[in-house]
């Protein structure tokens, strides 16, 4: 089926390299996060005076507390990465609220984030058990469990990537389908007013917003939280 796909559009092409919407939106999110950090942390005082310092402290405290209770005091070095991951996944999903394409609705983004988690899990395992212990861990509890252990090792990043991608892309596809169906419905009843190439469909006003609240706002926030939560739990599980 050509032309029906919901994949990211190619914005421009540079020497055969295709720059898709995902890349552009990804950089937009990075810029937003950078500006947010700069604005929130400028002119800090020991006793908070401004509202933005209170907000910044609240965010940092939330991430620190979550990391402390899930990974333990000795792995607090992961807190900045978890915070960055949470902010990126959150803003990457919420950017669809203003009509842009979600960054996390592209499998490449979520797979990249899941592969970073996989690298961190492997690093933690080697750090706490040594390289020999890491190899030996695949043969536990007995030797013939090796294939199963290998599968479960690969399944962790794959399922994390598919979960985030599936939720966000699924919301996008369902919202698009319902939007199109509402357009056809209003045209069928005669409630569609055409003005040149632009058509005004009565049912397309307001009703898709209800879906947007669930799929973009609720699902996006929860899935971003779950992704960083699973990262923390899996990395901390590498210790034992």
């Amino acid at each position: 089926m050509d032309g029906v796909g919901q994949g990211p559009r190619v914005v421009f092409e540079l020497f055969g390299w295709k720059c898709t919407e995902t890349v552009v939106m990804g950089w937009l999110v990075i810029v937003i996060v950078a500006v947010l950090c700069k604005v929130l942390t400028s002119n800090l005082k020991k006793i908070p005076e401004t509202k933005r310092q209170v907000i910044a402290e609240m965010l940092v405290k939330f991430v620190n507390n979550t990391v402390r209770s899930n990974m333990g005091e000795d792995m607090m070095a992961y807190a900045p990465y978890i915070g960055a991951l949470l902010l990126y996944a959150l803003l990457g999903s919420l950017i669809s609220l203003v009509g842009l394409r979600s960054v996390t609705a592209d499998f490449n983004t979520t797979l990249a984030m899941a592969l970073i988690t996989f690298a961190m899990i492997t690093y933690t395992k080697i750090k706490y058990h040594g390289f020999g212990g890491y190899i030996k861990g695949f043969c536990s509890p007995i030797g013939f469990m090796l294939p199963l252990n290998l599968i479960s090792e690969v399944a962790t990043p794959a399922s994390m990537a598919f979960r985030l991608f599936g939720n966000v892309a699924g919301g996008m596809v369902i919202s698009g389908l319902v939007y199109g169906a509402l357009g056809s419905l209003s045209a069928a009843i005669g409630l569609s007013f055409e003005a040149g190439s632009w058509a005004f469909n009565v049912f397309q006003v307001g009703i898709p917003a209800v879906l947007s609240v669930y799929f973009d706002l609720f699902s996006g926030t929860i899935q971003a939280y779950i992704f960083s939560m699973l990262t923390m739990v899996n990395v901390a599980a590498g210790k034992d």
Partner: protein, 84 residues
């Protein structure tokens, strides 16, 4: 003609794949219900219960998400069309 059959069967297959949504639905319902029970019994443990529930629900959701990815591949990136 061949293309039409393949496209139609792919659409039916995508619909059948989404039957897998039943399993995670029931499982997640159980998990959330038990969490509410335990929160009602011990309200001070709400934070821990909710956090554990989210992880468990996310795990239970995996199968549904796999089925959904299969359905998406069948609909938008059909591998059988290229084999004609």
């Amino acid at each position: 003609m061949e293309k039409a059959i393949v496209l139609g069967c792919s659409a039916i297959g995508a619909g059948l794949a989404m039957i897998a949504g039943i399993g995670p639905g029931i499982g997640e319902g159980y998990a959330v219900g038990k969490t509410i029970e335990s929160i009602a019994r011990q309200p001070e443990a709400q934070g821990d219960c909710t956090r554990t529930m989210f992880i468990g629900v996310a795990m239970a959701e995996s199968t549904g998400i796999y089925a959904f990815v299969v359905a998406l591949i069948l609909l938008f990136a059909n591998p059988f069309i290229k084999q004609l």
